[in-house]
Each structure stands twice: as structure tokens, then as C-alpha cells.
Amino acid sequence: MTELLTVSDLAVSFGEVRAVRGVSFGVAEATTLAIVGESGSGKSLSSLAVLGLLPAQAQVTAGSIHWDGRDLRACGADELRQLRGTDIAMIFQDPLSALNPSLTVGYQIGEMFRRRRGLGRDEARRRAIEAMTEVGIPDAARRAGSYPHEFSGGMRQRVMIAMALALDPRLLIADEPTTALDVTVQAQILRLLRKRQRDGLAMIIISHDLGVVARTAQSVVVMYAGRAVESGPVADLYTVPAHPYTLGLMAASPSARDAGRRPQPIDGYPPDGAALPTGCAFHPRCPFARQRCRTEDPELRTVAPGRTSACHFAEEVLSRGGAVGHPRA
Amino acid sequence: MRSTAATIAGSVLALFVLVAVFGPLLVPYDNVTTRMADRLLPPGSTLSEGGFALLGTDQHGRDVLAQVVAGSRVSLLVAVTVVVVGGFVGLVLGLLAGYYGGWTDTVISRLGDMQLAFPSILLAILLAGVLGPSLTNVIIALAVTRWVIFARVVRGSALTTRNREFVDSARVMGASDVRIMARYILPSCVQPLLVAATVQVGLTMVAEAALSFLGLGVPIDQASWGSTIANGRDYLDSAWWIAAVPGLALTLVVICVGVLGDAARDDSDPAKSSGLGRKPLRRRKAGTPAAGSTAAETTGDSTQAVAR
């Protein structure tokens, strides 16, 4: 399967902080990749880097980003802009702040057709209403004239999706698409996204919620402190994690409750990017940590077919056979 | 005063006060004698009697420097008296309104709203015009327009302090209202009142000059920066310095007062002076105009007060 997007050894610095320190991932047509991690792990920055939308203080310092054979790092600002919306689209966590409060949603969706496809005002409006209907917004013709604050959270996220998918992009990057929503609405939105994926859309879902990931993605990259610590197919990774951090994340996940356990937060806090621990960045919080972890930063290595882990003792973690939870717990 | 700007502004103002207090003794201003030979001499000229006119002379041969020095005295006197009188009235009324609330507050606040309903300079012009030109009347006219601003500041502080625990406990201990106001409420109002007073000193100076410029301020036999500017306006072609010099002095002093006021405001703002928010350079927030009597502030206040 050829990948649409291939990111290798991406590094992003945010001011003085090395926020992303060599991350690789890729996604193919009609598949979904999930990037998982706590806030501050660099997952959002990695995806913004793909689109060239990093905040002013942040910049890509190393690595390569290839889109459909093109080197995006070599692209000029305008070339990159041309790709946005038409080839790669993005939706964000909080649709209320991500939508312009002073413009009607019909205008904001129609803008895709007007500015990017050169359609007239009326035609753009008609297409915007179509796009809204397609994502399940009832009474779209009337609602197109409403402002974002007049919609519920779920409907707003549908508006965002309609806008992002308006020009049939080949890849959708969804940054915490359901975090601000309640559970039922969350399920509806995920169903909508899965449907589009079956139709051929490639997706990258960025989330801290393993439950969301399990329901949408085929493969996962787990990030911690700016690095990928584990990657692999969702099913394998969920059955038997190969990194203690993934193990911890699963124990901490709210969906652990579904399995009859109480969510068990990981001890300690994510490290400050400006003052990373020596050796493995996770070792202060790791129940498996030994002397070697304090001095030697583990390489990301293949630990099973199709799976990588950045843990000195990945085999030991794997051999726990999917018994989710911390050994201490 | 940490910043250089505040230090410079403070020095300029100290010089201004010294000149206003002692200057007239050194460079006496004689508004009666007319010396035709010395008419409209440019700055740096030597007078017929051998004197030296650093800032030139006017159409009657009078020394502009002496006029400006004399004017500084009027300016300082008016500004300080107005702020003290207006500040005192505002303090008392603001304390009463903030402490007692209820109809006392309603009456005082509504009175303030009505007065701020039209631009304060108009009220000052009207009052000064009706009262007639005299130093006292200028002070009355301006003090009447200023008390509201002080009253609002004090009322705001009093309102927040009124329900604090230590006030409650004083009340339980049987302290009288007057005692509570003087001992417990007043101290919390002093700082914001001083900040407002600093700003108002500058605005009052400009207002006094404006009234005198219009012929509604101090009588013509007294030199004021405003009346000297009005006089110089007729001689722009032949003697620009008559109008330019007093205006420059006024502008300089007012800007320095503004800089000091800013510094005072920043110092008194607890959020800013706490360790977290300390920054070497501070800028005014948008929507906070420098002058107290401008659009947003006046109307913003009145709208809020009315909507209460």
C-alpha cells in the first residue's frame, strides 16, 4: 500500500524548546492513523507542521514531509497554501473558537467554493447547503444563514467537517475532533468520519482518548515528550502494548471503565520540554525503569512484525500479554 | 518610579513647581508698563534697557519668559486647588455613596450621571462664563466638573471594601459609621484617588488654559498660559514665539504629568506589581484613553452606572 503522506524524522522547535524530536508516520488512502499522547507531547505541532500552519514561534528544524511524492518542506508558502483545503484539510478541537464568530456558517463553508473554486456567490451558497446536508445538519438551507454561536457543539463540529470536506480533500487531519463533545454526539461525529474514510478519505486523528482511537483508526503512533514511543496496528497495540507508556495510557483511559476497571492515572506529570529527564524521557514515571533507562535514551526499534517501541525492555512489556494496568497497581 | 521616563518626568515637574513658586521673584512680570522700543523682539534679543529677553517680547514689549513664569504660577495654583477641592468633595460624596448605598448612592450617582451626560468642558465654559473672569471662579468652575470623577473612583473602592471582614467585625464591635469610614474604608480609597488626582492635574491645567484662551478664565491683567497663547495668536506672522512658548511649556508639563500618572497607576495595580506580572515596559490597554474626560471613559462609565 503506498502512502499518501509520509513524515520522517520530523523535528519542530517551539522557541528554545525542542517540542518534536524526530517523529515518523505515514497514512495511505482510505485508512486512518491515530496520533496519541498527552497534551504537550507534540502531536498537534507535528500535524500543524504538515500543513505549514505552525504558530509563529515554532519551526520545523529537521526531517522530511512528503505528500503524494512531493517534498512539502521544499514547497513555497503559496504552493503549500494551494494544497490546504483541497488536498489536505484540517478540523480542530473547539469548533466554537475555530469558526469565525462574525460570519455565517454558510459563508464560511461557501468560501471554499468561492475562493478556492472560483464559483459565484449563489452557486457557492447552494454547494455549502449541500455540504451541510451531507454531514447531517437538518434544515441546512435555513441554518446556513446562522452564526456559529447559534449552533450546538455537535452541530458546530459538523459545520467544521462540512467545511473541511467541501472540496473533497484526500487527507483529513482531525485534531481532537470530539474532545469538546459529549459521548452520544461524539459517537455520531465518529460515525460520520468513518463513513467518509470508507469512501476513500485518508485520516489522521489526533487524540488523547484511546477509546476514540480504537473506534476509528487502523494504526497508531503513541507520542511522549516530542517522540514516538510506540507504533503499530490498533488491534495489536491494544491487545499487547509494547511500551510502558501505552500501558499506562490504557489504564488511564476513560474507556477502561467499560472493561470494568477504574481509570488509573499515570503517576507524575509529563516532562517540561525545556528540561527533559536524562535517558528515556519517560523513566521518572515508568514502573519498569532501571538504571539503564536513566542514562540511555532508547531507540525506536522493531519489536514484532509491523510494530515498533522505544523501550529498552519492550520484550518484557510485551510478555505481560496484554494485562492492562501498572504492575504496581 | 523605576523607569527612566518617570524619573525625567518627575524632574521636569519638580522644576516646574520651583519655577511657579520662586520664578516670579526672579523674573517679575510687569503687565502695566509698555515699552514700544522693545516690541515683538525675537528670543535672545537684548532689550533697550540692557536686559536680555531669552524668549523674546510681546506686542507691548513685555518679556515672554516673565509671562510664562507668571503663567506657570496660575496654572499650578488652579490645578492643585481644583484637584484638592474637587478631590475632597468627590472623596466625601464617594464615601457616602459607596458606604451607605441605597438612596444616598442613587442620588449621588444619578447626579454624577447627569453631569457627565454632557462634555465636562462645556459645563466649565458655561460656569466660568456665568461667574465671570476671576481666578476663584475658574477654580470653582473646574472643581464642579471634576468632583464626579473622584467620587466614582472612591465609590468603587468603598463598595468593594464595605463588605470585607474587618469592616464587619468593626461594625460588630460597635464602631460608628464615621469611624468605620475614616479608619477602615478611607485607607483603601487613597491609592486610587491619588492616581486619579495625578491624571486630573494635567487635564485641569489644559482646561484652565482653554478657558483663559477663550477669555473666560483669569482676568486679563493676570498672565495665564492660555491668555498668552490667545494674545500670541494675533501675532503669528511677526512674533510666533508669543503663542509657541507657553503652549510648549503646557504640553511638556502635561505630558510629564501623564507619564507620572501612568507610573502611579502601574505601581498601584496589585496584579501588575505582583512578581508574576512584572514587566519592564508597560503599555496602556486599548480602549483606555489617556484623558479622563474622553469618549469611551465618560460614556462607558455613565452607561454602566445607569444600567446598574
Binding site: 500543513l51 462574525s102 468560501e111 475562493r115 | 462645556l122 503599555r283
Partner: protein, 308 residues
């Protein structure tokens, strides 16, 4: 919505009523005897008494006040003894001139202040940004009448590029309009700058970029749209202040508006005209404030009934 507007309308009526009351108090209570004023000090006691009776001055003050309110409601401010004829009519005659001047000043404020603010927002920390910062800090502290005279000195007398008195031609209005605008230029620019910077940091800007919109569209459509709302509303307040400040500036440029009429009337004790002028300006000022609130309501879609 209707309730809110009705409440604001009622507040405005109350404020206008307050303004009329204050002007009544200043004009009828302070000056002493209007009869002496009208007839002069040579009038006989009998003549004075007769006029007092005729004017209703012997009635209790409260009766006079109620009668006066009724007169003002009919726009009857009495006759001008100086100009002859209806006082209100003579003020209305001067209204277009003042509005023209204020309109020019508003146009200048917008044409200079808005682009200046946008430019400063795009180049923070650079020279333009610092100019805006200083201008907003000092602009409102400047004595505008003096600034006007200095502008005349430089542009009319020294350079000879612009006329020094306003004779009604658009070119002649540049200097007075600029003088009026200057205090608000920096203020508006700063408001636009800070508003733009704030908007640029918001999430919807990132969304707009993610849509592949050009930077021009992102800025001119998405950001500007949100910066514009507070600016448009603030313009009403600025216009109100222009009309008030024009009182002094019209005098500087000999522009025959309400302001110069007001000053002439006060100096000549023609109080019927003075009152009509002040009440009209106050009504404008209060009315513009009301308009601003209503405009804000319509311009910002987020303000709904619940948030009012």
C-alpha cells in the same frame, strides 16, 4: 431586545432632562438678576420690577423650573437679545457648519487612524508601532487649541500650503479637522492595533489558513470583520467628542459653528442662545451614545437577548 432598547431610551431621556436641569440651575440661579442683565444698570427700579414680573422671575424657583421645562420641550429657549429672533433657530442655523467640521474630523480619524493601526499590528515593535504608542499616550494630553494655532503657524504662515482660517472650502477645513482628530487618531490606531493583534491570535484565523485562503483574504475578510465591530461602535463616541471639542477649535479657526456661537453668546451674556446651544450639544452627545449601544447590538451577532 425591545426591553433593552426601551430601557436605554428611558436612560437617555433622563440624562437629557438632567442636562437641562443643570443648565437651568447654572443660568437662572448663579447670575443674579436677569432683569438687570437685560435692561442694564441704568434701568429704574420700576422698570426692573415690571420686567421681573413679566418674565415670571418673582414666582418661586420651582414654578419657574417647571415652566422652563415645558418651554424647552417646545424648543422655546426664548429670544436672543443680541441677534434678535428665536434663540434655538439661530443655533440650528449654525448646526450644519459644526456637523461638517466634525464629519471631516471623523473622516480624517478613520482614514489615518485605521490604516495606521493595521500597519502597526503587522509590524509590532517597529517604528510605526512606537509612533502609534506615543500618539495614543500623548494625543489626548495635548492642548488642542494650541496645537491648532501651531498647525496654522507651520502650514499656513511658514509653509503657506494650507489656509489658516476655515472659510468653508474643503481645503480650509483640513487644519481644523486635523486638530480635532489628532487626540483620537492615536487612540483609534491603538484600538485597531490591539484589536487586530488579539484577533490574529485566535483559532478561527488558523482555520481560515487551513482552508487555504490567501493571507490577504484571511486578513481583509476574517480578521478585519472582527476588528471592525468595536471600531464602528467607538466612532459614535468619537463623533460626540468632536462636537464638544469643536466649541474651542471653531474659535481658533474662526469657523461659524455652534461652538463659536456658544462662546460669543456666553461672553456677551446672551444666555438664551447659550442654553439652546448647550442643550443641543448635550442631546447630540447623549443621542450618539444611545446610537452606539444600538449599533453594537446589531453589529455583533453574538450579543443576544440573554447576554444583555
Amino acid at each position: 431586545m425591545i426591553i433593552y432598547l426601551a430601557r436605554r431610551l428611558w436612560q437617555s431621556v433622563f440624562l437629557i432632562f438632567g442636562a437641562i436641569t443643570i443648565v437651568f440651575l447654572v443660568l437662572r440661579v448663579i447670575p443674579g438678576d436677569p432683569a438687570t442683565l437685560i435692561l442694564g444698570s441704568q434701568a429704574t427700579p420700576a422698570e426692573l420690577a415690571a420686567l421681573r414680573e413679566e418674565m415670571g422671575l418673582t414666582d418661586p424657583l420651582f414654578e419657574q423650573y417647571v415652566r422652563h421645562l415645558a418651554e424647552v420641550a417646545r424648543l422655546d429657549f426664548g429670544e436672543s437679545w443680541r441677534l434678535g429672533g428665536d434663540a434655538f433657530a439661530s443655533v440650528v442655523d449654525r448646526l450644519p457648519a459644526t456637523l461638517t467640521l466634525a464629519g471631516y474630523a471623523l473622516a480624517l480619524t478613520l482614514l489615518i487612524g485605521f490604516p495606521l493601526g493595521l500597519h502597526a499590528a503587522r509590524h509590532t515593535g517597529r517604528a510605526v508601532d512606537r509612533v502609534v504608542s506615543y500618539l495614543s499616550l500623548t494625543g489626548q494630553a495635548l492642548p488642542s487649541f494650541w496645537v491648532g494655532i501651531m498647525l496654522v503657524l507651520i502650514f499656513a504662515r511658514m509653509l503657506g500650503v494650507l489656509p489658516g482660517t476655515a472659510d468653508g472650502t474643503p481645503v480650509s477645513l483640513i487644519l481644523p479637522a486635523f486638530t480635532l482628530a489628532l487626540p483620537f487618531l492615536g487612540w483609534l490606531a491603538r484600538l485597531v492595533r490591539n484589536g487586530t493583534l488579539e484577533e490574529l491570535g485566535k483559532d478561527y484565523v488558523r482555520t481560515a489558513r487551513a482552508k487555504g485562503l490567501s493571507e490577504r483574504i484571511v486578513f481583509n475578510v476574517h480578521v478585519l470583520r472582527n476588528t471592525l465591530t468595536p471600531v464602528v461602535t467607538v466612532l459614535g463616541l468619537v463623533l460626540g467628542n468632536f462636537i464638544a471639542d469643536a466649541v474651542i477649535i471653531e474659535q481658533v479657526f474662526a469657523w461659524p459653528g455652534i461652538g463659536s456661537l456658544l462662546i460669543d453668546s456666553i461672553v456677551n451674556r446672551d444666555y438664551a442662545v447659550a442654553e439652546a446651544a448647550i442643550v443641543l450639544i448635550a442631546v447630540f452627545y447623549i443621542g450618539l451614545n444611545l446610537l452606539v449601544d444600538v449599533a453594537y447590538f446589531y453589529l455583533d451577532p453574538r450579543i443576544t437577548l440573554e447576554t444583555v
